[in-house]
C-alpha cells in the first residue's frame, strides 16, 4: 500500500521547529510552487491529482465556484490504482458542507465587531475544525487497515486553525504533534505532502510560497506539486 498524508498548510519551518521527526521521515524538503500566481489550495490539489498545472482552469470558474470542483477519478492518477481510497480531498471528494461552513465562519469573524464577539466566533470555528479533524483521523485509521493499494488522507486543521491562530504557538504545536503521531502510526510506504506552508501575520496565518514533502525512500530535491503523480506511479510499479 502507498499512503499519502496530504496536510494542508503544513509549514516546513514549523515541522523543523517542533521536531516532528515522523513527518520528516528520512528525506524531506520544500516543494516549488513558484509557477502558480498565488498558493491557492484548490488550484494546488487539482494540479497534484492531475499532474498538470490547473491554475487557469480553476481560476476560470471564479472564487465561489472553484470550491465546487469535483474531478472524475479517470482524470486523476488515482484511477491507475486498483482499489484507491481518498479521504476528503479538495477538488475530488471533500466534505463540501464542512468546508463551506468554515469559510462562512471566517467571514463571520472578519465582519464581527468587538473582541468578545470575535473570540466567541474563533472558539466556535476552532472547535468545528477540531471535530472534523477527529472524524478524518478515525476514517484514515480505518482506511489504513483496509484492503487498499493507495490511501490518501487529507487533513485541513493546520490550515483552517492556522488562519485565525498561527500566532498561537502552543495551539499550532499541538496540531503538528498530532499530525506527527498520525505519521508515526503508518507502516506502509508514506509520502507526506502539503500544498503550501503558512507564515505569520501577527496572530493570523497566510499561505507561504512553498509546500512541504517527505519520503522514507528517496531525496526528491525541490519538486513541483505536479511531479508527485509521476513519482507515486513510479513507486507503485516498483512495489
Amino acid at each position: 500500500m502507498i499512503v499519502v498524508l496530504a496536510i494542508d498548510a503544513l509549514e516546513y519551518d514549523l515541522v523543523e521547529a517542533f521536531g516532528c521527526d515522523n513527518l520528516k521521515q528520512k528525506f524531506y524538503g520544500k516543494t516549488d510552487i513558484s509557477e502558480f500566481s498565488e498558493p491557492r489550495t484548490m488550484v494546488l490539489w487539482n494540479s497534484f491529482m492531475t499532474g498538470e498545472n490547473r491554475e487557469k482552469e480553476v481560476l476560470a470558474l471564479g472564487d465561489k465556484e472553484m470550491w465546487n470542483i469535483k474531478l472524475d477519478i479517470k482524470d486523476t492518477f488515482f484511477a491507475r490504482f486498483e482499489n484507491p481510497k481518498i479521504l476528503d480531498l479538495p477538488g475530488f471528494n471533500y466534505d463540501k458542507e464542512q468546508h463551506e461552513l468554515e469559510r462562512g465562519m471566517l467571514k463571520e469573524f472578519f465582519t464581527a465587531v468587538g473582541d468578545e464577539e470575535k473570540a466567541e466566533i474563533r472558539k466556535k470555528y476552532n472547535s468545528h475544525a477540531f471535530e472534523h479533524h477527529r472524524r478524518i483521523k478515525k476514517e484514515f485509521a480505518d482506511a489504513l487497515s483496509g484492503d487498499y493499494d493507495f490511501v490518501l488522507g487529507y487533513f485541513s486543521a493546520a490550515d483552517v486553525i492556522g488562519h485565525l491562530n498561527f500566532g498561537n504557538r502552543a495551539l499550532m504545536k499541538m496540531i503538528y504533534r498530532d499530525m506527527d503521531e498520525i505519521a508515526a502510526g503508518i507502516d506502509d510506504t508514506l509520502i507526506v505532502l502539503s500544498d503550501h506552508g503558512m507564515e505569520r501575520i501577527g496572530m493570523f496565518g497566510d499561505h507561504s510560497d512553498h509546500g512541504f514533502w517527505s519520503t522514507g525512500f528517496k531525496d526528491l530535491g525541490n519538486p513541483r506539486i505536479t511531479d508527485f503523480a509521476g513519482i507515486i506511479m513510479e513507486i507503485s510499479e516498483v512495489e
Binding site: 465561489k64 470550491w67 467571514k107 501575520i201 497566510d206
Partner: protein, 73 residues
Amino acid sequence: MNEEYGEIRIPTRLIEEIEERIKQTEFESVEEYVTFVLEEVIKDVDEEEPEEVFSEEDEAKVKERLRALGYLD
C-alpha cells in the same frame, strides 16, 4: 523541596492509555508521567517566541490575503 499538590480531572481513557504506556518505562505512576509531559510542554512554549496579540492592522492584512486566496468574497 516540598511541593504542594492540587487535583485535576482528566478523561479515564487517557489514564488507561498512560497506564499502558508507562509499563515499559521508568515512570512509576500516572501522576509522575503527566507532570513530566506538562513540564516539557510548558518549557517548550516558554522558550519559543512570545504569543502574538491581536492588531487591527494584521486583521486587515490577512483579510485582504484571504480574499486573494478565494476564502472570502
